[in-house]
């Protein structure tokens, strides 16, 4: 049976055979965009680009705002291609309509020569619904508006916004040239005007927009060389920040509608369990309670105020049946994963040279590692507001795919797409939690609204429900065996790991090792899993970079020099590694009981090397004092914004490495809130330094690649500090000798 991923890959393969080039709307499609999203004084010129009568240029972004600053970065691209003043640039979110589907995203993955990441695989079910509606990639079917995969700049920006803006500029020039009856080649653009230097005439973009929109855009317009960019590459202030310092950004949870009711939910603690019985009278008698809605696996209390709904829901004593999964524990899952790795179902994914056969060629080193389940825990708990009235559904929520959400809600309600309006709102964090395939909060909100027709209902998960009904970063086990030649360098690399889905390309290594064998074994559990910031790279980064470190120590070599030798034919990686090492003062002495560790991971097209400095406190706990990071993403569109993303990714990765662990008992998640699923705070924040390097390499992503090297850099630093190797995360489960020296 094909996995979800291969279904999508089939689609991607079809697209991959096409000519490279982003499909721009024919002029006939502009009218639909104007109807959906243009104000009276605005005009779409082509995809994603609106120009207003006062020359303001608005980039209509097929992503949502979850804090990564991409709206601003995409406007930088458009400002350069359109020769606009920065003060004239705006960005807004595209409506969740097929007209604004983001072909560049799928195209980016399909043509990037890599597999579609698992977070897209949730789309498989949606794929064919949109087949007829989209023309951007023939054969690709559903083209989404996903925010994820660190794709906004490298795919939407490079392949869509940049092209559309350049095409819009060419159309504005054509319109002006026609008015003046001169050659377009004799016209120039600057500061939101088309100028004809020979005659000194000029026209504002706002005066030309309507005529320009009548031309068919070129999919291969003349585009600027990146050396001539004025806006791209400069640190600019993000558009969204002023509204985020005064409390006026309206997140999903802030929706207020006339007559709105509030809902709180109790979901079966065991995933997939069923509601057996409930005494509704316990809630119904409480102040403000309007309805108690029974769903297959949950009970929802609807009241006139949220705290009343929440308190009434808490007072209920629902009886759920978890079925056979009610006996699952973290330990039973661990045993199944270990058994699977010992069994015959490990499928080889990559062989190089003579693979495992080369293990006998040198001194053998073995190690096994694990990472735990992790929750996403964005600060805004899952929530959605829905109104079912007169056979139509209206939904307000933050998700990482507005168009996909609209389709999902339509199917949850059994309605046609036209009967569903979806309002996509800013998210108080997501980190993968609000991607397709992870929309339990939409399902519950829609079902509740349909049970209470005629009134809008806002469903908010408590933090406890949010923690216990996530789609978790999977727990994964990985085993390695290597053979070291007489010079201490690896001649064979053998790795097998568990997966909840299919083989992970992220297990393939950067290092030049002649014989390799890498394979995966699928172990399904009842615990729902999903994409968590940096996805597969978040675990393979830890595994691979820890084991390479172990090899270096077995060889008696400096871990930095060992990696340098293995990357001697990879100049970008080498330069990134050297930048981090140089800035960190690698090799200079540290106090006793302290240590430095290095790790380098390429993910989402971006290379990141971190050097961590740690010390062990008197209680045997690890203190991370400093992280120095070097990043090569090819092109840093907004360098300050990119640095902010790397800083945030470091803390996200560090929280997980030091403290993050979701465990399972009786089929349910044990942790519930920030008291037992702990987050780092300002007091725990190390000094962070981020250094960017650029070259003319392909443009990589920014949101995720800072995460994967964090855990291994810290674990390797712990080994340097005290001689104890960390093979299982989080570090808090282990105690370390404070004064240096290995424990037995």
């Amino acid at each position: 049976m094909p996995t979800r991923r291969t279904v999508i890959l089939g689609v991607g393969g079809a697209a991959g055979a096409l000519v490279v080039g982003y499909a721009l709307w024919p002029s006939g499609r502009i009218a639909a965009a104007d109807r959906l999203d243009a104000a009276a004084n605005e005009k779409f010129i082509t995809n994603w680009i609106k120009i207003a009568s006062d020359d303001t240029i608005t980039v209509v972004v097929p992503h949502c705002d979850m804090g990564t600053g991409t709206f601003t970065a995409l406007a930088q691209f458009a400002a350069d291609e359109l020769d606009s003043d920065w003060s004239k640039m705006r960005a807004e979110q595209a409506p969740p309509d097929p007209v604004f589907a983001n072909g560049a995203m799928i195209e980016g993955f399909a043509l990037g020569g890599r597999t579609v990441p698992p977070f897209l695989t949730g789309l498989a079910a949606n794929t064919f619904r949109f087949l007829a509606a989209n023309v951007s990639i023939p054969g690709a079917g559903y083209v989404p508006q996903i925010t994820g995969g660190s794709a906004a700049v490298r795919f939407t920006g490079m392949n869509a916004i940049r092209v559309a803006a350049a095409a819009a500029r060419a159309m504005l020039v054509k319109a002006a040239a026609a008015r003046w009856n001169v050659s377009a080649g004799d016209c120039e653009t600057r500061a939101n005007r088309v100028v004809h230097p020979a005659s000194g005439r000029s026209l504002r973009y706002g005066e030309l927009a309507a005529e320009a929109a009548g031309y068919d855009p070129s999919s291969r317009p003349p585009m600027k060389d990146r050396r001539h960019y004025v806006h791209v590459g400069k640190p600019v202030r993000r558009f969204d920040i002023p509204r985020k310092v005064n409390g006026t950004t309206g997140y999903g949870i802030d929706v207020a509608l006339p007559g709105m009711l509030y809902a709180a939910i109790r979901i079966s603690p065991v995933f997939g369990g069923r509601l057996v019985s409930i005494d509704e009278s316990l809630a119904a008698a409480q102040r403000g309670v309007k309805h108690v809605v029974k769903l297959e696996d949950a009970v929802v209390v609807v009241a006139d105020r949220y705290w009343r709904a929440r308190d009434a829901a808490a007072s209920l004593e629902p009886l759920f049946d978890g079925g056979a999964n009610g006996s699952v524990t973290s330990e039973t899952i661990r045993r199944r994963r270990a058994d699977a790795l010992n069994g015959k179902d490990v499928k080889n994914d990559l062989t190089r040279g003579s693979g495992a056969g080369a293990l006998s060629a040198g001194r053998r080193v073995q190690a096994a590692y694990t990472v735990p389940y992790l929750a996403h825990s964005p600060m805004e708990p899952m929530n959605a507001t829905a109104l079912y009235k007169d056979g139509a559904l209206e939904v307000w929520a933050g998700t990482q795919d507005g168009l996909g959400s609209r389709d999902f809600c339509a199917r949850a309600a059994g309605l046609s797409l036209e009967k569903v309006t979806f309002h996509l709102l800013p998210m108080g964090g997501a980190f993968g939690r609000r991607l397709p395939g992870q929309w339990n909060y939409l399902t519950y909100a829609v079902r509740t609204a349909m049970a209470v027709p005629g009134v809008p209902v806002k469903l908010i998960f408590t933090r406890e429900e949010d923690t216990q009904h996530d789609y978790y970063r999977p727990n994964v086990m990985s085993r390695f065996e290597a053979a070291l030649g007489s010079d201490g360098m690896p001649v064979a690399w053998v790795n097998s790991y568990t997966t909840d889905d299919s083989a992970n390309p992220e297990a393939h290594i950067l290092y030049d090792i002649p014989n390799q064998s890498i394979g995966a074994v699928k172990v399904e559990t009842h615990v729902p899993t999903g994409a968590w910031r940096s996805v597969e790279a978040s675990w393979h980064g830890f595994f691979v970079e820890s084991f390479v470190d172990e090899l270096a120590h077995h060889a008696g070599k400096d871990p930095l020099q060992y990696r340098r030798a293995l990357l001697r034919n990879s100049p970008r990686h080498l330069a990134t590694l050297d930048l981090a090492a140089g800035k960190s003062g690698w090799g200079t002495p540290l106090p006793k009981g302290s240590g430095r560790g290095v790790a380098i991971v390429e993910s989402f097209g971006t290379i990141v090397a971190h050097v961590a400095e740690v010390s062990i406190d008197s209680g045997g706990a690890v203190r991370v004092n400093r992280i120095v990071s070097a990043v090569d993403c090819g092109l840093a569109v907004n360098p300050d914004g990119l640095k902010a993303q790397i800083e945030g990714a470091i803390l996200f990765g560090l929280t997980a490495a030091l403290r993050g662990e979701i465990t399972i008992d009786k089929g349910a998640v044990v942790q519930s809130n920030f008291n037992d699923y702990e987050m780092l705070r300002i007091a725990d924040c190390p000094g962070i330094e981020v250094y960017l390097r650029e070259d003319d390499g392909p443009v990589g992503g920014g949101g995720e690649p800072g995460v994967p090297p964090v855990a291994p850099a810290v674990a390797n630093a712990v080994f340097a500090a005290c001689g104890v190797r960390v093979r299982d995360l989080p570090l808090r489960n282990q105690s370390f000798p404070a004064s240096g020296g290995a424990t037995p």
């Binding site: 310092v245 005064n246 409390g247 705290w307 945030g648 809130n673 920030f674």
Partner: protein, 150 residues
């Protein structure tokens, strides 16, 4: 059942239970949604407001307990234009998703009001709010700058 609250200088007589959490009274009764729900158990600080100038977690504050207090929310803090703290938040480009930042700004503002020159250690002890986007290093830099000016 009624509770009288003074929020951002305005007195409101509200038909709510004494034990109703201040957070939800602010949000659902008064429409002051700048104050955020994060955890409900005083762990994360997204709900931080000022009660008589002190930072307090409103999710565990019963409305009846702050009857005679001056309550200030992020909306009230900004009423006279951006404060120095808010300007520093823009200068340092701190917010990412922004959800926790109302609480952060309220917590830092209260700290600076009683200690205009806090050190890193003072900040770490006074501001225990959680930010999942990881803006802590920028917050620290902004507070260092404010402390130097203050």
């Amino acid at each position: 059942m009624s509770v009288t609250l003074k929020v951002n200088g305005v007195v409101h007589e509200l038909d709510v239970e004494e034990e109703a959490p201040l957070l939800w009274v602010l949000r659902d009764e008064l429409g002051l949604t700048g104050t955020k729900f994060g955890c409900g158990i005083a762990q994360c600080g997204a709900c931080t407001v000022h009660v008589n100038g002190q930072a307090q977690r409103s999710c565990v504050t019963p409305a009846g307990s702050v009857r005679d207090a001056e309550i200030t929310t992020i909306e009230g803090l900004s009423a006279g234009g951006l404060t120095a703290v808010q300007k520093a938040w823009i200068d340092h480009q701190i917010p990412q998703c922004g959800y926790c930042q109302s609480g952060m700004i309220m917590a830092v503002s209260a700290l600076l009001a009683r200690n205009p020159h806090p050190g890193d250690e003072d900040l770490a002890q006074a501001v225990t709010n959680i930010c999942r986007c990881g803006t802590y290093s920028r917050i620290r830099a902004a507070v260092r700058a404010l402390a130097a000016e203050g």
